[in-house]
Symmetry: C2
Subunit: 294 residues, 2 copies
């Protein structure tokens, strides 16, 4: 199975007033992202508030996406958890459904753990899921987890599990780290988390981009992906990066959802599950104004 | 219901070679801690590696403790989770079993969240568990969670839920924070996480102590608790603090388990679930020697 490439938005999750998942709206949105140019969907990630969903909800979302007609080959769900037991359950469930792969966070409760401990964690997940279908993409987001998939650890994982550990999503924003990965691991499916970094990274062999703002601007980002070598690349890049920078100057997930609320003319999109909170009306209006002016 | 007081060890979890819970050994150990002087057990906390157990295992442990004859009134389980949905399931399960209370971590995936978001998280848990039996002890461990229960937030929670939010376990080791809590919240059940801080804190109104090293030295810590105003207090405190400092000079959970292995003459105690790792043989021997010399 070849690894994923292209634009895989980490689809945001709309909530009803009682904070339950607005499934109908969610499914419609996911189909819209695919029609808008997404190669697939990196569902159930940080922007999706997956770690604010309970384990049953996470499984349910995946089943409903597939039942709605989205091909499992277009899905890269996040299946990480603090315990390997829960990570195994989620990852096996996803693999059994035939997904393209799973994004695996490091176990994010304990801090200061060793590369050896993280290697053992991944080994337990792979050994217990025990599926030839399994393809893992490491999920690097030290700002949330306090942990890093170090290049040394990645090299060790690739040696031990060459058919299974096939890529990484890097949400660190650390370009030096990203460049190190691109340099050291040709053939590894490396996804930066921002379109602002994508063109440079594509030139160095990146697989594509998994970006929060692909929720709101998938067409622009897809055009940039398709046209990064074209004469228009510089202007496409400038515009996509300006949008990204503006949205990311606010709390990112709240700003993405506020913008989705405007785009879909549905106030409910602005809801986040605690501990995250919505943009206030004033911030939302400011963002709206600035986006319109771009 | 009066809040908990005294010594509540966060019982460590023994694992078999396949990393499953060694239930028989675990239950025997918990009974032994109570016979050794523990007032109750703060099970399923950080030292217990609860966040390395899956959700079903966490429920199972609690049910088995009670089935083994331990009174639910002697149990303060950790029931936190990254999502309020999972935290609700665990907390409701524990409350329905009649436990003394639950230790609640803040939702520990997202970082940089607001006090408002944490307040909403706790509100959701309390509202959804919806049990008059529920008593919550906040669990403060910023070194793992990246989050702090700020004094302002605690005050707001106590005002909103005076019958429910009854105490806190503070594992920060930050004596200024601890003193602030003791000063601002008389009547709140405040547990420092180290016997080294206990005597000073008891003098300022603390409820007792929930300490990792109560796994290995419950008698010493209980004697200190009982005798903190006695003429022997200074020497008891000196000895208990020396033991604590020594064990805590190694990775704490691994050092506690290595010492339990020695005390119970069972090598299996040294196992930790990944991402945590055991002390190496050399470190374990060094710790053993230094402890014997104390």
């Amino acid at each position: 199975m070849t690894a994923a490439t292209g634009i895989w938005p980490p689809a945001a999750t709309p909530f009803r007033e009682d904070l339950s998942i607005d499934t109908e709206r969610y499914l419609a949105f996911c189909h819209e992202l695919l029609r808008g140019g997404a190669h697939g969907l990196a569902v159930l990630g940080t922007t999706s508030e997956a770690n604010s969903l309970d384990l049953d909800e996470r499984k349910g979302v995946l089943e409903k996406l597939i039942a709605s007609g989205i091909s499992p080959a277009q899905l890269l769900p996040g299946t990480g958890a603090a315990s390997f037991g829960d990570a195994v359950k989620l990852t096996k469930h996803a693999a059994d459904l035939g997904v393209k792969g799973s994004l695996l966070l490091p176990p994010f409760y304990y801090k200061g753990v060793s590369d050896e401990g993280l290697f053992e964690f991944v080994s337990e997940v792979i050994g217990r899921v025990n599926s030839k279908r399994l393809q893992l993409y490491l999920y690097n987001f030290p700002q949330q987890t306090g942990l890093v998939w170090s290049p040394g650890l990645i090299a060790k994982l690739r040696r031990a599990f060459p058919e299974t550990v096939v890529g990484i999503k890097d949400s660190s924003g650390d370009t030096q780290y990203l460049d190190t990965l691109l340099e050291q691991f040709p053939g590894f499916a490396i996804f930066p988390s921002s379109e602002s970094l994508m063109v440079d990274a594509l030139g160095k062999g990146a697989a594509g981009c998994i970006s929060a703002t692909a929720n709101t601007h998938v067409k622009e980002i897809r055009a940039l992906y398709d046209g990064w070598k074209s004469p228009e690349a510089a202007s496409l890049n400038k515009r996509a990066s300006a949008i990204r920078s503006l949205i990311a100057s606010y709390p990112l997930i709240a700003a993405v959802k506020a913008t989705l609320g405007d785009q879909h003319k549905h106030k409910g999109w602005h809801r986040l599950r605690p501990p995250l909170t919505s943009l206030g009306d004033q911030q939302a209006a400011e963002l709206r104004g600035k986006l319109a002016a771009l």
